[in-house]
């Protein structure tokens, strides 16, 4: 097991003011438990504001949590200090949605990659050796080595996302979090990036956590899918479970929207049981029940 999240709970706001009035807190992640197995990609799906990015940031320990437990690669990292966590953080890398803002416009590709290389435990003997490492990484993401002295603005969106992936791969992470990593690209480039990620996984010991609002895209890369809504995981199952036999009305709604481009008229508001637990319906296929 690579990552285990136990009953993660995270709220924003809700601070008591001087006069004792309390503004109500937003429950961004509400009692979420998930596991990611080694080399078993998990897709995290839901609409904007459902808490999927918050969860990613919790895994990276960029946000603290109110309660719960995070176990990464056998180590409990929940209360670990930043200093202790730093060596482990190399094993979890992230690729962001917008490659226009995730790459520093004043850095050349060489400088962007070098920054990550300088954190590597492997000490490179010479500049030439580092250069070699960078070129081989660019080759990995199907870019040519002679782009090293160019700046981000000289590249298309797809190429930029490849550079971001190359940077994330430098420290040989065990878990790569892709937060809407293809959403800003056109469908053809999306396809190329997804194929690239599959190819990388064949060569490296890497697992993906793929965050997206589009079930169709998630299906291409992931083995299992978790559907999130208002901070809770409503349904969890294999791709086939979710696509062929979606149990929760919200999953059905997402599926209709992604596949048929139709919205669903909700007869009643989605009732999310506050104390709901994921119940296993068939093997490996869970749905929330209160």
């Amino acid at each position: 097991m690579l990552l285990k999240l136990n009953n993660i709970y995270k709220t924003f706001g809700g601070v008591k003011s001087l006069l004792g009035t309390k503004e109500s807190a937003i429950e961004a992640v509400n009692d979420v438990s998930l596991t990611i197995n080694h080399k078993e990609n998990l897709g995290l799906v839901g609409e904007s504001g459902c808490g999927k990015t918050t969860l990613a940031r919790i895994i990276l320990k960029l946000y603290g949590i109110n309660s719960g437990q995070i176990i990464f690669d056998g180590t409990d990292i929940t209360r670990m200090s930043n200093r202790k966590f730093r060596p482990l953080r190399k094993s979890v890398q992230m690729v962001f949605q917008d490659p226009y803002s995730s790459l520093d416009p004043r850095f050349t590709v060489r400088e962007i990659l070098k920054e990550a290389i300088s954190l590597d435990e492997v000490k490179y003997k010479s500049e030439a050796e580092q250069e070699q490492k960078m070129i081989s990484l660019l080759k990995e993401v199907q870019l040519s080595g002679d782009i090293l002295s160019r700046y981000p603005h000289e590249f298309s969106g797809g190429e930029r996302q490849r550079i971001a992936i190359a940077r994330a791969l430098i420290l040989s992470p065990k878990l790569l979090i892709l937060d809407e990593a293809v959403s800003s690209l056109d469908v053809l480039i999306q396809d190329q990036i997804l194929q690239l990620l599959t190819a990388i996984q064949k060569r490296h010991d890497i697992t993906y956590l793929f965050i997206s609002h589009n079930l169709k895209v998630v299906k291409r890369l992931c083995h299992r899918i978790a559907v999130m809504y208002k901070g809770k995981v409503l349904e969890l199952g294999s791709c086939d479970d979710i696509f062929d036999n979606p149990l929760h009305p919200y999953t059905q709604e997402l599926l209709t929207a992604a596949v048929e481009y139709r919205s669903t008229e909700r007869s009643t508001d989605l009732k999310i049981p506050d104390k709901g637990r994921l119940i296993e319906k068939t093997k490996g296929h869970f749905i929330i029940e209160g």
Partner: protein
């Protein structure tokens, strides 16, 4: 057969400085009350083609040959001030990213009011009534509150609806929608597509839809123009193109949005 609203004839657009052709010999026409989709990957010239109809090309580009007829009139003969009368009044536009398309320091109501002030003779009360009615039409809840809201106070889906309200405010005959759903998540995307459907029949609109997603286009358009590197590679009725694509490129575009 009624006269087409827009006819694009052998349109070519090039970069002024280098002479590089962005759009090459593109021809198509838009029938009244129909939806035409311009489809292709990034850099295929689909947005440039769409924006040429509004004469909103970047200053670095120019139309090098061909012409665009709007209701039979040659657009190239129109002055900039004449074009200003056409934009909004005759041809509305919906951009991809509604956050950037609105001015952050004015309320939504104010910005739509500007369209009506410019294009119509209506008084203050009439205009406000019209705007509240527009909000209702595009499915925005609590129109009075939206009117007073600033762009950042609305969610992405609501901003997109507000922009559509702005585009149809002066009752244009044609809407150019450039990737109107690309910045939205799938559930909102489906709702916006349905809104376009609805508006089209209610307001007898023609729509030019620019998109990279053939799956989406399938659900909204009557004809499809597939573009690659500035050229039209395939064009025809939507059903025909989707069911029997002839070109490899079209097949690739279709394959990319299939459920595997």
């Amino acid at each position: 057969m009624p006269n087409p609203i827009v006819t694009v004839q052998n349109l070519s657009v090039e970069v002024k400085q280098t002479g590089a052709k962005i759009v090459r010999n593109v021809s198509f026409s838009v029938e009244p009350e129909s939806v035409t989709a311009l489809v292709g990957g990034s850099g295929s010239g689909k947005t440039t083609t769409g924006m040429s109809i509004l004469k909103l090309l970047s200053p670095a580009l120019k139309v090098s040959s061909g012409q665009i007829l709007y209701k039979g009139f040659n657009l190239s003969a129109f002055s900039e001030s004449k074009m200003q009368e056409i934009r909004g009044r005759e041809i509305g536009v919906v951009f991809q990213e509604p956050l950037y398309a609105f001015n952050p320091v004015f309320t939504i109501g104010d910005q739509i009011d500007e369209v009506l002030r410019f294009h119509t003779q209506q008084g203050v009360i009439q205009r406000k009534e019209k705007i509240l009615h527009l909000f209702d039409l595009v499915g925005l809840p609590d129109p009075a509150r939206i009117y007073m809201s600033y762009p950042h106070q609305l969610s992405g889906g609501m901003r997109q609806r507000a922009m559509i309200a702005q585009a149809i405010a002066a009752d244009p005959d044609l809407i150019i929608a450039d990737e109107p759903t690309s910045s939205l998540d799938v559930t909102l995307q489906a709702k916006i597509i349905e809104l376009f459907h609805d508006l089209r029949s209610k307001l007898k609109l023609s729509i030019v839809l620019v998109s990279h997603d053939l799956g989406l286009v399938k659900h909204l358009s009557d004809q499809v123009i597939v573009m690659k590197q500035g050229e039209v590679v395939e064009a025809g009725k939507t059903n025909t193109v989707i069911e029997k694509p002839q070109e490899e490129y079209t097949k690739d575009l279709l394959k990319a949005v299939e459920v595997k």
